[in-house]
């Protein structure tokens, strides 16, 4: 069989090109009520009064909700967030009230009539500002909040979490260093900007069953959190997720579902629908985290890295939710993919009056790699060494340890040197580093190395059920959400390969229903293929075992002598002797009418193995199963006069373990690269001094458009991850990871000045050239 490796078209392709594909907001019914939010116009303010009297008079209004201390405080690690603001607002866009009405127009009319009186409070406008001893406290009651294990907030400060990495002996490391560089980096929060804005539908039946539909990456988390926050039996919460129109981490947090749930509750369980407008999707929903970073690196005069001292101040925003986990992940892989024996890192998650952060593609890695890989280039320059040579020289290899002291081997680590060599070829690295095109324009290349492991719950697991149809075809039921990664199709390929069946015989259930679909932890972290793929293989083996068991009765032989494939179960040594799967999968009926076997229902699951929490003092622990590595580069054309530039080429070489679907994998990498260049080149929230975001529409917050993109070149190296399906590593995020650093590296060379902030817009480059300091608040 050779379905693995083939560029099979997506299973849901025809639906997507014909308008048949359904997303959450496409669902309509006449029993639906509509929810409209009122959101905070301030970054930090006391709520003095909310007057809903005029709003109540709008006909068709069924309920108006405001915040209440009766509602539980929520949050994934620290429960610090009221679902609807109570007493004060802590970020521009925070939900302040909800209107539920018969028609969206009426809901909006009523929402526009709600009058809220605020008293503005001083604003914490950056993580560095948040750290100052005289900074206003975003959470005065930090010590009273409930929290999970493994998160370390520091009361009476704005520190929501501190993750420490203490590896090796720093004194020794500095002594061994002939050369030391220290640099600062900074960028503000930004947005996921998925084309589908967030949407949830909620309904509560009289028997207490809660039905939710949401555009979510984590339907099982919605179930878990609503159960926990509101004391409802887990089994009474059913969450549905259809196709999702882009997520990139932004739909892994639970927010709009809780608002929809509350809106339903307030109307006696009526079916309600909440759709975020684009502005609300940008402002209210959690965002892409910002960062202030300081990186200090020491190396020998030959360029061997000896010590790294790093401080990451993550802009976690007004509430912690996933931010604390992101800052933890930033510590886990706080360096680039290099062998450094002595690492000291403090990764802090800071409270600010910015929208709170959630997972964003790369989960802190493109962010910390921007800081680290810029520093590597600065170090290379100081050494007078080629930037790729420096990276090659220090490349992390089997036998080395990560910052959390995980011992790496050939399976849990990809081959970085091979990636670097291949990148060199693809980018023509041996050409002149700067090429003058004319008196104004130069062509410059910039590079970055990347790595990532996942930092998810150590008990994360994935399950798969297979049922057969009477024609022998299989229904594949997995809790992975199809957010665009194409993972559902990959799972079908894995199944087809194992069962030696045609992919057309595999029917994939695209939707997830938490009552009938086995759980896949969350569709995040590039772990879908790995975990669900292992679950698929386990389920396939279970199906094969059951088929063989029934067939052995009919064929009067030992099950051990049988093989399954090509739609049949047959004797290994005499394939002519066998029986069609379709005659067995629903049980077998003898000529006289006797039936045996019954439906073959196969199941499989996979749970991450040997994951541990991190030691609170040293950070030692195993947060993820493997490290995917790669090397990336960009080629830009820069105008030395007006500081404008174009990205001509963007290149990625990633060790994917095994290519399961080439076009799909390349698509994932190219899409991620595009996102990384867009983020680095143009995207940022622009805050005024009251913490108000000034660019909350897609005409002022602009993702990259057609024609602004470079030519993408993607190649893969294959070092199998031995415990992964067919050796394949996840690839959903990795394309983004090195793009900001590579772009900044190329521009810094082209402009002749160190560019350590994002986004890399011409104005920023112009300011740096004029000699302004990198401004830090």
């Amino acid at each position: 069989m050779n379905i693995i490796g083939k560029s099979i078209y997506r299973k849901e392709a025809l639906d997507k090109v014909s308008g048949k594909a359904k997303y959450t907001a496409d669902e309509q019914s006449t029993d639906m009520l509509h929810v409209k939010m009122v959101i905070s116009p301030y970054g930090h303010a006391k709520i003095e009064k909310i007057d809903t009297s005029e709003a109540q008079k709008v006909p068709g209004v069924r309920a108006i909700l405001t915040g209440s201390p009766e509602l539980p405080l929520i949050g994934e690690e620290i429960q610090d967030r009221p679902p609807i603001a109570v007493g004060k607002v802590r970020y521009y866009g925070e939900p302040v009230a909800l209107v539920v009405a018969d028609h969206p127009v009426l809901a909006k009319r009523a929402a526009d009539l709600i009058k809220v009186a605020y008293k503005p409070l001083p604003v914490v406008n950056s993580p560095s500002e948040a750290l100052k001893s005289d900074a206003p406290l975003v959470h005065e009651k930090l010590d009273t909040y409930q929290r999970t294990q493994g998160v370390y907030p520091e009361p009476n400060t704005n520190i929501a979490n501190r993750t420490k990495i203490r590896k090796g002996n720093m004194e020794k490391g500095w002594l061994e260093s002939d050369l030391i560089v220290e640099e600062n980096f900074s960028f503000s929060p930004s947005d996921h900007a998925a084309m589908e804005t967030r949407c949830a539908i909620a309904e509560i039946h009289r028997d207490g069953y809660v039905h939710i539909t949401s555009s979510s990456q984590a339907p099982f988390m919605i179930k878990k959190w609503i159960s926990r926050y509101f004391n409802i039996d887990l089994g009474k919460i059913v969450v549905n997720t259809p196709l999702v129109g882009g997520a990139y981490g932004g739909k892994a947090s639970v927010q709009w579902e809780i608002l929809a749930f509350l809106a339903s509750k307030a109307t006696g369980g009526r079916r309600v629908k909440l759709i975020y407008s684009r502005e609300e999707d940008i402002l209210t929903a959690p965002c892409h985290i910002g960062l202030d970073a300081r990186v200090k690196l020491g190396c020998t005069r030959d360029g061997l890295l000896k010590a790294a001292e790093i401080v990451y101040l993550f802009d976690g925003g007004a509430y912690s939710d996933k931010s604390t986990d992101i800052s933890r992940a930033g510590a886990v892989d706080c360096t680039g993919p290099y062998h450094i024996e002595n690492v000291w890192c403090d990764s802090l998650c800071m409270y600010t009056n910015h929208p709170y952060a959630t997972a964003f593609r790369g989960f802190s890695h493109s962010e910390v790699l921007f800081a680290f890989e810029r520093t590597m280039d600065i170090l290379a320059e100081k050494l007078g060494m080629d930037p790729l040579e420096l990276r090659l020289k220090n490349a992390i290899l089997p036998g080395h340890t990560t910052p959390t002291q995980v011992l790496l081997n050939n399976s849990n680590l990809g081959n970085l040197p091979k990636c670097i060599h291949r990148l060199k070829e693809l980018i023509n690295w041996d050409e002149k580093p700067i090429m003058e095109i004319d008196e104004r324009k130069v062509r410059v290349k910039g590079v970055s190395c990347i790595w990532k492991t996942s930092t998810i719950d150590p008990d994360a697991s994935s399950g798969v059920i297979l049922t057969f149809n009477r024609d022998g075809s299989i229904n594949l039921i997995s809790g992975v959400v199809e957010i665009g990664t194409g993972t559902k199709t990959i799972l079908a390929q894995i199944l087809a390969e194992r069962m030696k069946m045609s992919i057309d015989q595999i029917h994939v259930q695209m939707k997830v229903n938490t009552q009938t679909t086995p759980e896949h932890w969350k569709t995040v972290a590039s772990r879908g293929t790995f975990m669900a793929g292992r679950a698929v293989l386990a389920a396939a083996d279970d199906a094969i075992r059951q088929l063989k068991e029934i067939a052995s009765c009919i064929l009067r032989c030992s099950a051990e002598d049988l093989e399954v494939g090509f739609g049949r179960i047959f004797l290994r040594d005499d394939p002519k002797v066998g029986i069609d799967i379709k005659d067995v999968a629903y049980g077998y009926q003898y000529p006289n009418g006797n039936a045996i076997g019954g439906q073959v229902i196969a199941r499989g699951n996979y749970i991450l193995r040997h994951m541990t929490h991190l030691d609170p003092d040293t950070g030692a622990g195993q947060p993820g199963p493997e490290w995917t590595v790669g090397a990336q580069g960009v080629e830009i054309e820069f105008d030395k006069k007006d500081f404008t530039y174009r990205v001509i080429k963007a290149i990625s070489v990633i060790d994917i373990g095994k290519v399961l679907n080439e076009k799909a994998a390349k698509g994932q990498v190219m899409g991620a690269m595009s996102m990384g260049l867009s983020f680095a080149g143009r995207e940022t929230f622009i805050f005024d001094r009251y913490g108000r975001i000034q660019n909350s529409q897609l005409r002022t917050y602009r993702p990259i458009h057609y024609g602004e993109n470079p030519e993408y070149i993607v190649d893969f190296v294959e070092t199998p991850q031995l415990d992964a399906p067919y050796g394949a590593r996840g690839i959903g995020e990795h394309g983004i990871l090195g793009m900001p650093a590579a772009l900044a590296n190329s521009l810094s060379v082209a402009a002749g000045v160190s560019l350590n902030q994002l986004p890399l817009v011409p104005e920023f480059i112009w300011r740096r050239k004029k000699g302004a300091q990198n401004d830090f608040v």
Binding site: K16, K22, M195, R278, L698
Partner: protein
């Protein structure tokens, strides 16, 4: 004030070759009426502000952002939505070239491409860029979309037939 009612009118809209009856407010956008009255949910709300193109349909063979048009303006015009296309070369090309991932922007892109190819079956790269700049795709890097469009241009098809 006007808060105590929603003034509605009835009209016939010509969509996908069918005359459809609809009831809507003058202030309702065409996108809203297509989706909520006529059940044509292929055109998507991405921003309701004319910035993303996810709502693109064809009106009298021109690509139009249906969120920038009042439904009442559409009376008397011929509209085609994604549901009105079946097995067109551009739809096939999108599948074959992996020109979408989450699929949310896809109907808008296909409608824009469809209008482009109808008017300019041999469009230049520059023209393709000018037209397609109107639609945002957040999942792909646009490279596959470019390949899909180019694969159905007359010059490509004739080259391949030689």
């Amino acid at each position: 004030m006007h808060n105590d009612h929603m003034f509605q009118i009835s009209a016939t809209l010509d969509v996908n070759g069918e005359k459809r009856m609809a009831t809507f407010r003058p202030a309702d956008t065409l996108l809203y009426v297509l989706r909520n009255q006529l059940g044509l949910t292929g055109a998507k709300p991405g921003c309701l502000n004319g910035d993303c193109g996810a709502c693109t349909i064809n009106v009298d063979d021109m690509p139009m952002k249906s969120c920038l048009m009042l439904a009442i303006e559409a009376v008397g015009k011929k509209m085609t939505t994604i549901e009105g296309l079946d097995g067109t070369p551009i739809q096939k090309a999108f599948i074959e070239k992996f020109a979408f991932q989450c699929g949310y922007c896809t109907p808008g892109f296909i409608m824009n491409c469809h209008a482009l190819l109808k008017q300019h079956p041999d469009a230049t790269d520059e023209m393709i860029k000018e037209w397609l700049e109107s639609n945002i795709c957040r999942c792909t890097g646009y490279q596959e979309i470019a390949e899909a469009v180019k694969s159905v241009l007359t010059r490509y098809l004739s080259k391949n037939n030689q």
